[in-house]
C-alpha cells in the first residue's frame, strides 16, 4: 500500500476523536506536529477525566463511601492497564509524576556514590542526564555528527564502577530507536542493570519489558495521549523490593505505632509498589492514563507502528526535498526510527526557534524549536538549535505537506 494511503486511512479514522484538532490558529486549521512534547488527548481520555470529576470525585484507597469505591476502582484499573502496556506485572509498576520523577526515584533507590558510574548516550534528554551527575559520575557515550549514539563504543565504557546503563528507547531529538537488545546483552554480561527511558516510545510501538529484559523502565502519560502529571517506573520485582523508601507519608504505610516510642519497627511500610506512592496521587490523571492506554491498545500497537513507519518515511523524504534543510539522521531507515524529524532550516536572519514560531503564526503548524532539553547533543553537533516535527497517528499527509510548504516558504 502506498504510504500516503496508509497514513491517511488511519489518521482520518481517528482524528475526529481529538477535539483539539478542530480548532484554528491565526485563521488556519490547526496542524499539530508536536506530539514528542505532548500528545493531544482523545475524547475517551477527556471523558474519563471529566467523568471522574462529575461522577466520583473522591480520594482513593481511603473513602468508604460509594464515590471513594468507584474512584478507587478506576484508579486501580489504570495500574493494570499500564502494566499490560509494557508487559509487566501490576506490582512492578510504581505511579510517579512522569518520566523525570521515575528516573530520579531510581537514582535515589540505587544509592549511587561519587565513584559510581552511569553510562548513557550523550544525546539524552536532560531527564536522563542530569540525575546521573548528582553525586555520581556520568559517562556519556559519544554521538556522531547527526546526534546518533555510537553504540559500538558502549562496551569500552563499561567498567567495574559502572552501576547502570541508561538509554532512551527513542531519541527525542533524532527519533532513532536504540538497539536495546544489544545494550542489555552487553550490560547484563557484566552484571549491570539497564534503564530504558520509554517516554518517546510507548505510544509508537509495542514495548515489552520481559522480552527486552530491561531492569527498569520510565515513561510518562502525557506523551501517550494521557493527562500530564502521571507516569510510571517499572522495575523488576526483585529489584523493586530492595529499593529504600522514597517519599513517606499517607498511603504508603501499613502501620505507624510511634506512639509507643520511636523505633524502626514501629513504622511498617506497605508492600510494593504502594510503599513508593506517598500522599494522594494524581487520581484523575491516572484514570485518564488508563483510558489512554485502552484507547491505544484498542487501535492496536502494531497498527500504530505500521502507520508510524509510513509516516517516518513520508516526513523525512518530504523535508529532504527542500533545499536549505538538513534533517538529522535522515538516512536512518524507518524500521529504526519513529515519525519524528529534527531539522535545521537555512532561513536568512532567523534562528530555529524563530522558524518554529513562524510556522505556527503563519501556517497554523505547531512544532518545537530550540534544544529540546538536549543541550549537549546540540553542542556536540555544533547546532544552536533545531526544529522538531513529531506527527502521530492522527496526522494526515496533508498536515505534513502543510509543514513542508511552510518550511519551503521560509527558506525562500
Amino acid at each position: 500500500m502506498d504510504d500516503r494511503v496508509r497514513i491517511d486511512a488511519l489518521a482520518r479514522r481517528v482524528r475526529g476523536e481529538f477535539p483539539l484538532l478542530g480548532r484554528t490558529l491565526e485563521g488556519h486549521p490547526l496542524v499539530y506536529l508536536d506530539s514528542a512534547s505532548t500528545t493531544p488527548k482523545p475524547r475517551a481520555v477527556i471523558d474519563a477525566v471529566t467523568d471522574y470529576y462529575e461522577r466520583c470525585t473522591a480520594n482513593v484507597h481511603r473513602g468508604v463511601h460509594a464515590l471513594g469505591t468507584e474512584a478507587t476502582q478506576r484508579f486501580d484499573a489504570a495500574r493494570l492497564e499500564a502494566a499490560s502496556l509494557v508487559g509487566a506485572a501490576p506490582d512492578e509498576i510504581v505511579f510517579v509524576r512522569g518520566t523525570t520523577e521515575a528516573i530520579n526515584l531510581l537514582r535515589h533507590a540505587l544509592s549511587l556514590g561519587p565513584d559510581d558510574e552511569v553510562v548513557f548516550p550523550a544525546s539524552e534528554h536532560h531527564a536522563n542526564w542530569l540525575p546521573w551527575r548528582m553525586n555520581t559520575r556520568p559517562v556519556p557515550m559519544p554521538i556522531d555528527e547527526d546526534g546518533v549514539p555510537r553504540w559500538e563504543t558502549l562496551e569500552l565504557l563499561l567498567t567495574p564502577r559502572t552501576k547502570l546503563v541508561s538509554i532512551g528507547h527513542v531519541s527525542n531529538v533524532t527519533g532513532c530507536i536504540a538497539p536495546v537488545a544489544e545494550v542489555v546483552h552487553a550490560a547484563h554480561a557484566r552484571g549491570i542493570p539497564v534503564l530504558l527511558d520509554a517516554a518517546q516510545s510507548i505510544s509508537h510501538m509495542a514495548v515489552d519489558v520481559k522480552k527486552l529484559d530491561v531492569d527498569f523502565l520510565a515513561a510518562s502519560s502525557h506523551k501517550a495521549f494521557g493527562p500530564s502529571g502521571v507516569g510510571i517506573l517499572y522495575a523488576k520485582r526483585e529489584q523493586l523490593r530492595g529499593f529504600p523508601l522514597y517519599q513517606v507519608g499517607g498511603g504508603m504505610v501499613a502501620l505507624n505505632e510511634d506512639v509507643l516510642g520511636p523505633a524502626p519497627s514501629h513504622m511498617v511500610p506497605r508492600d510494593v509498589p504502594f510503599r513508593f506512592e506517598a500522599g494522594t496521587p494524581a487520581i484523575e490523571a491516572t484514570i485518564g492514563f488508563g483510558a489512554a492506554i485502552r484507547w491505544m491498545r484498542a487501535l492496536g500497537m502494531a497498527t500504530i507502528r505500521e502507520h508510524d513507519m509510513a509516516q517516518a518515511r513520508y516526513l523525512v523524504a518530504r523535508l529532504r526535498e527542500i533545499p536549505g534543510v538538513r534533517v538529522l539522521a535522515a538516512d536512518m531507515p524507518p524500521e529504526r526510527r519513529i515519525a519524528l524529524a529534527t531539522f535545521v532550516v537555512d532561513a536568512p536572519g532567523m534562528t530555529q526557534e524563530n522558524v518554529a514560531r513562524a510556522l505556527g503564526d503563519m501556517y497554523g503548524v505547531c512544532v518545537s524549536g530550540g534544544h529540546h532539553c538536549a543541550h549537549v547533543l546540540h553542542a556536540r553537533v555544533h547546532l544552536e538549535g533545531t526544529v522538531r516535527a513529531s506527527p502521530h497517528v492522527f496526522n494526515t499527509t496533508e498536515d505534513i505537506d502543510r509543514l513542508v510548504e511552510g518550511v519551503r516558504d521560509l527558506c525562500s
Binding site: 468507584e70 476502582q73 493494570l80 492497564e81 502494566a83 499490560s84 501490576p90 523490593r241 510494593v272 504502594f274
Partner: protein, 455 residues
Amino acid sequence: MLAPPAAVSAAPLEPLASPVDPRPDPGHAARTVAAIGRALRDIPYYRARGLVSPSPGEPLADVLARQPLLTKKDLRATLPRQWVPAGRDVKAEILSGALELVETSGSTGERLRVLWDEGWWPRQETRAMRTSARVAAAMDGARGEYREAILTTPECGLGTCHVGDLPYEERVGGAHLWLNQRVDPLYWTEAEQARILDEIGQHATVGLESDPFYLALLARFARAAGRAIDVRSFVQLTYAFTTRAYLRAIREVFAGEVLQLYGASEVGVLFMEGDDGRLHHCPFTTHVELLPVRVPTPGAAHVALVVVTTLDRAAMPLVRFVVGDLVRVDPGGPRLWTSVPPLRSVEGRLDDAIARPDGALVTAGAIDRAIGDADGVRFWQCNQHAPDRLEIDVVADGDAPGAAERVRARVAPLCVGLAVSARAVTGIPLEPSGKFRVSKRHVPLDVARCFGTGF
C-alpha cells in the same frame, strides 16, 4: 462463607446433628408457609405493605405467587429498624450481641448490611456443610481434629483499617484461621504467599474455605515454588464464580476433595455439592425458587434466577428475596432434602451475564465452558460496555496474544450479534470489595423481559 472473626468468637460453632442420610423433609412446604406467615405478621417492613398472610392449608405455590419479589434496594432503604419484630430494641440487641450487624462484601451498588440472630450464621453453615458426607466425616474427626482455614478478602475490604499485619495467633478464632491480610491478592508478595502456605500447614488445616480466585493465585505460586496446599481433607470453594482455569490450577497442587458451596450473606448457605457433583439444596433454613429465563440461554440449558425465602430467622426474615445469581438447574436430578431441584452449576451473577441483542443472556458459566481448557489461559474477564460489543481481557502464560485470540474465537459463537474482541493483559482489576468478576455487563437489562412478572 464464614463471618469475620469477631462474629464467630461471639457465637462459637455449635455441634449439630447431621442430616447426612438423604431424607426429604416432608414438612418443608408447611415450614415455608409458616415462615412467610410469621414474617408478614411480625416484621414492620411487610406489615407496612399490607401483604395478605397465608390461609390455613393454603398451598405454598399460591402463597409465594402472591408475594412481591424483594430486592437489595428494598432492604437497603429500610434497615435495620423495619426488620426486627415490633417491640425489640435493635440498638440494645446489637450491643449485647443478640443481633449481629454484618456488611456484605458486594461492590458499590450491591453492598448491604444484614442482621443475623446471634450465632445464626455458623449454625446454618455447619448444618449445610454436613449435608456432604465427606465434609461431615472430616468435621467429625476422620482426618484429625477439625480445623478450618479461610482464604478470602480480609475483614476490611477497602483498606481503610489497614494497620499492619496480625500474627497467626491473633487471626485464629476457635478452630478457624483467617489467612489473608491484603486487600488485593494481585499484589501478594512471594513472602506473603509463602506465609499463607506455611500457616495452612501450621494450623493443621482439615478444611479450607476459599474464594476460588484467591486460591488459584496461591496455587500458581505453590506450583512455581514446588509446594503443595497442605489441607488434610477438603477445599470448599465459595464467595465467587469458579472457572475451569482456577480449578485446573488448584488441582495441580491439591489432590483432595474440591467442593462448591453456594450461598449469600443475606440468606445463608443455599446449596452444597454432593457426591454426585450436583449442588443440592440444603434443608431447614431456606426455600428456593428458581425462576426460569424466558429466552433460552446459549451454552447453558435450564438457567434460572435464584429467589429465596428464609425459614429460621427471627430478625430480618426474607420473603422472595432476589439474590441476583443465575444457576443451571438439573430438573430431573434427585431432590435429596427438599422439593428444590439440584443445580448443575452456579452460572454467575445476573449482572455478569452478557445480554445479546436478541434478548438471550450469555452466562459467565456458559462463557467459561466455551473457553474450556484454552492453552495457557489463567484469568479472563468479559466486559459489555455497549449493547453490541463485548471486550475480553485475558491473562495467559506464554503467547498471550495468541491465547487472547483463542478465547475470542471460542466465545464469539455464543455472543451472536455482538462484536467480540479480546486482548492480552498482565492483570485484571478486582472489585473494590476484593472479589474478582469474570464478566461484567455495563448496559442495563430489562429484567422483567427475561424472567417474567414480579420485577
